[in-house]
Amino acid sequence: MEPMGKVLVINYEKCTGCRLCELVCAVMHDGISNPIRSRIRVMKWESEGLYIPMSCLQCQDAPCMNVCPVKAISRDEDLGRVVVDYDVCIGCRSCVAVCPFGAMSFNTIDRKVFKCDLCDGDPQCVRFCEVKAIEYVDADDVSILKKKSAAEKISIAGKEAAVLQASM
């Protein structure tokens, strides 16, 4: 029961752009170091110092799942993930085309689609990211954290407004 409802949360502001997540993902799954085998990829705008890791969001109403003509893609509710059944998959790449996040990839060496499988509940990208740009948390906690950070902003704005009013 424990991992149910857990999700990967990416806080791109914290990402240093080191791409260690790509290496460990590829080595963990394939025993091979090669970023094109990684389920997570860091998109970079180098001249702005902006780095955004992109991975599968394990959608509830997953376009990849809906589009698959042979129903090879399904939801695994235990781990809250979307999985590919390679015994059924015909490699048509419809899922690659339809994913709005580019999270479904096609491995040109093994000729197979692939996506994040949350490392069966112990995501290596999370384990190796010391700056915690990627975390694996309960879905409930995600919105609580967001609520708190938004509330903080409101509180600061309120204080600033009070100071402004007082000085007028």
Partner: protein, 646 residues
Amino acid sequence: MPLNRKIAYIDLTTGDIQTKPIPLDVRKKFLGGRGLDVYLLYNHTEKGCDPLGPKNTLMISGGILTATCASATARTHVMAKSPLTGLLGSANMGGFFAPELAWAGFHHLVIKGKAKHPVYIYIHNGEIEIRDAREVWGKTVTESQWAIREDLGDQEVKCLVCGPAGENLVRFANVMSGIKNSGGRTGMGCVMGSKNLKAVAARGTMDIKIARPKEALEYNKRFIDQIVSAKVNQTQGALGTPFIWGATNSWGGIRCRNFQYNQCEYADDIEPERIDEICEETMGPYHMTGCFGCQVHCRAQYKIPEGPYAGVYDEGPEYTSQGAFGGETDTPRAVTVLTGNHLVDKFGMDNLETGSLISWAMELYELGIITSKETDGIDLRFGNDDAVIEMIERICYRKGWLGDTLADGGIAASEKIGKNSFDYLIQVKGMSNLHSDERATPGLALNIATGARGSDHLRSRPAIDLYHLPEEVLRKIYGNPVPYDGPLSSEHTEYIGKPWQVFWQENCYMGVDCLGICKYHTTFLGATLPNFEDWAKVLLYNTGLEMTPEEIWDVAVRCNMIERLFNLREGLTRDDLKKGDMLNHRYFDEPCRRGAIDVVGKKIDKKKFIQMIDEFYEHKGLDKTGVPKPETLKKLGLDKEPSHLV
């Protein structure tokens, strides 16, 4: 397999390209990176060749662990005969280039000849192509890289480029990659410029099979935990390398006003905390970035807060820029350091050499050795921020008499300026000293005097000497992987045992450079960080190559010896002030005037210094003149060099 990565031999004159595998026995002797590069340099350059001529050979490489899942193995190494010193040229940089080169199929490039017009080399999944770079020539460091990506239609391409400084044959031009990864020191960008080689672009998607993936991952995790638990790396990760400058300045180990003082006063505006504030103000709370696969993330991101370059994005500044454009020139203002740092990144020029030469010219100006006639009216006094910024641009574009003169490097400039200008030039083997002052630290003085590429903190500095570690701790570090039972002292102002520490560090740093690991991940600033024993395991798990810690040590000793052989072949003699293991007289004659109580009044005792050199030579197996003894060469398997194995 990492071990199936190849060497490519590229002749820019004829366009001939050959690729060869790297035999296992060559790997076992030299591993890769700097170690194999120096072997290639010794074998593929002729004695006395013109560093700017087609016969000079440029080596570009990644370490043997590059692009594996071993932590922080992103270092790129570049080597050639130096146009600055006429001796060993070598530069090592972080970033993302070397792994991309490895995924494109290569660990080593050997580039000869000279192209008829500007070209760049494109390496893609085992294929190598020489392409027209006439449209790219003249562009700055980042502009060049974005233009090449456009040309190839691939935003994932990683480039090594020379900037305008390299094109203008500034003798200390850098090889650059990304925003600010700098293969600085000894002018490797100048060698690129001399070959009409604007860039090397790599893009690769070839598999690198990890020998024992599970163990490699688990060991990497252990490695990272060890690295990020070190206080020094936590501070690096928060404040970046500026913290080193701040800490060193506090006790008086920083050059100020060329070499007049050993501490920069009124430096609040460039203290690490202040620099960090600016980074936070301009880039937000998370403003640190890192090289491939590294969890130290020691590099800050910033925008220049004010002045003519206000709002421009760059990375750093490293402690070297604080030293070069703040301390040495006595212009401790953040905007000057940040702007200076940006300009050298944009031009592709060595910040250490640039700042050092400007501060030397400032001292000459104040002494009347050069006048406003030579400076085109620039008031080149210490503390003149505008003059520092102006001179950086003048050096890059060789503008004016002084800009053009300084662009040829210190020794050539001193010969042109004449009088007693050379006496004030703080250099070893023709390479300017970095921003540090070693008069109170004999171990560090020995390190810069004997460094193979010149006055250098990254090739043999026993930096942990400053921590006053208990002797038993020192014994544990310096007694492995080969035994040492000679004297050691915890006191950084002492002369005892320092030669062994410098010798040990020289081999430690050669080790990481062969493997391709960053020095912040070994016994450089952190006494508890991994070295030989851990490397043996990392090497085995990632590459399958089985070597003992002692064997890795032997590789390091061997490769350092080839560096020595190269320098000797190019004219190194022990006491030569321009080409030897000797310090400027000011180290022996002028005592420190500022700093901590055990630093004030200190200078290097020449007699003891010479004894240290003798002892250092003994550890290395050299005779009294600094030449390797025949039995040393035989023991290291170097008695038949050049042996042309690859």
